[in-house]
């Protein structure tokens, strides 16, 4: 099963075989309402509860604070459900990731954050 959301500026794809969510592009959506489809996809993945979920944002070049909030909420929801481990793949070449991704580990200390 593949779940995906594609826009001219960004895409979010879940590949069930590898239990990997891949976010690419530029996300500058307007508030909770515009992020709702992405939140729904993340929610579904959380409920599928694979042993390990990989969140790959290496090619997500821009994320506004509303989008950062969506990532934070996903991590907290996975933490609260307590059924999946979480691996986050980031890129050291994308400035926002170096600044903001470290906060994910403060929310979920067992989360594995890898900068590639």
């Amino acid at each position: 099963m593949v779940m995906e959301i594609k826009d001219q500026d960004y895409s979010v794809v879940y590949d069930e075989a590898s239990a990997t969510i891949t976010c690419d592009g530029l996300m500058r959506l307007r508030g909770t309402e515009e992020y709702a489809p992405i939140v729904a996809l993340l929610d579904q993945v959380k409920d599928l509860a694979p042993a390990t979920i990989t969140l790959d944002v290496q090619n997500l070049r821009f994320l506004n604070s509303s989008g950062i909030n969506v990532l934070f909420k996903f991590v907290i929801d996975v933490r609260e459900l307590g059924k999946s481990e979480l691996v986050v793949l980031g890129s050291s070449l994308v400035p926002w990731q170096g600044k903001s991704l470290k906060n994910l580990q403060r929310l979920m200390p067992q989360l594995r954050l890898k900068f590639i």
Binding site: L26, R28, R30, G31, T32, E33, F62, N64, S65, S66, I68, N69, F72, K73, I76, D77, L93, V94, P95, W96, G98, K99, S100, N103, R106, L107
Partner: protein
């Protein structure tokens, strides 16, 4: 010359001015660039897309002014561009989200280059009903530990009702090390009273 609101807009007599944090008046003694527009001249959705364009342009443009030769490395340049892009975009999103339409007051984003820092200024009219609450919020941002406030807000948002994330200012402080301050000016205007808030963000480099 000081940057005066009345340069662009006919407002009545100033009734009250209040500042939070170390607010410094914008001045044109240094290099600066100001984007100034009416938030209601086109649909918000259409205007929203321009935020990204403006932030991309501003970050590319100002990165060329960073000293070269023994100056910043490519990595520092990339980091500077990322910071300007993120902060400019967040500030533009905020002025659009919180601009008070009945006041019909234009919004602006100005970027000023100094020898050792970069200053962003945004201005917009606020809903008079939201001024007190916002002032209480900025007071907390100035007085409390930003890291704790940041975590508190994230946990609150995760349980929340889908309102605004309120993470824009917190990420600027917590993730980008920016220093924020505010000036509120209340004026008489045709529709009664209007409060114009100017947010100043200082980014050291």
């Amino acid at each position: 010359m000081k940057f005066e609101l009345s340069q662009f807009w006919q407002l009545g007599d100033e009734k009250m001015e209040k500042t939070f944090g170390e607010f410094l008046e914008p001045c044109d003694e240094y290099e600066y660039l100001v984007i100034h527009f009416s938030p209601t001249s086109m649909p918000l959705q259409q205007r929203w897309r321009n935020n990204g364009l403006s932030a991309d342009f501003l970050s590319e443009y100002w990165a060329t002014f960073l000293p070269t030769g023994g100056g910043p490395t490519e990595e520092q340049r990339l980091e500077f561009k990322g910071a300007v892009n993120y902060i400019a975009n967040e500030l533009l999103e905020n002025v659009m989200k919180f601009s008070y339409e009945p006041a019909d007051y234009p919004v602006s984003l100005g970027l000023y280059l100094f020898s050792d820092e970069f200053r962003f200024y945004t201005s917009n009219a606020m809903d008079p009903q939201q001024v007190d609450e916002f002032q209480q919020r900025v007071q907390r941002l100035l007085e409390e530990d930003p890291a704790e406030l940041y975590l508190e807000q994230i946990e609150k948002n995760a349980l929340g009702d889908g309102g605004g994330s309120q993470l824009g200012l917190l990420t600027m402080i917590g993730d980008y090390g920016a220093t924020l301050s505010w000036r509120f000016k209340t004026f008489e205007c045709k529709s009664g009273e209007a409060t114009v808030v100017t947010t100043m963000v200082r980014l050291q480099f």
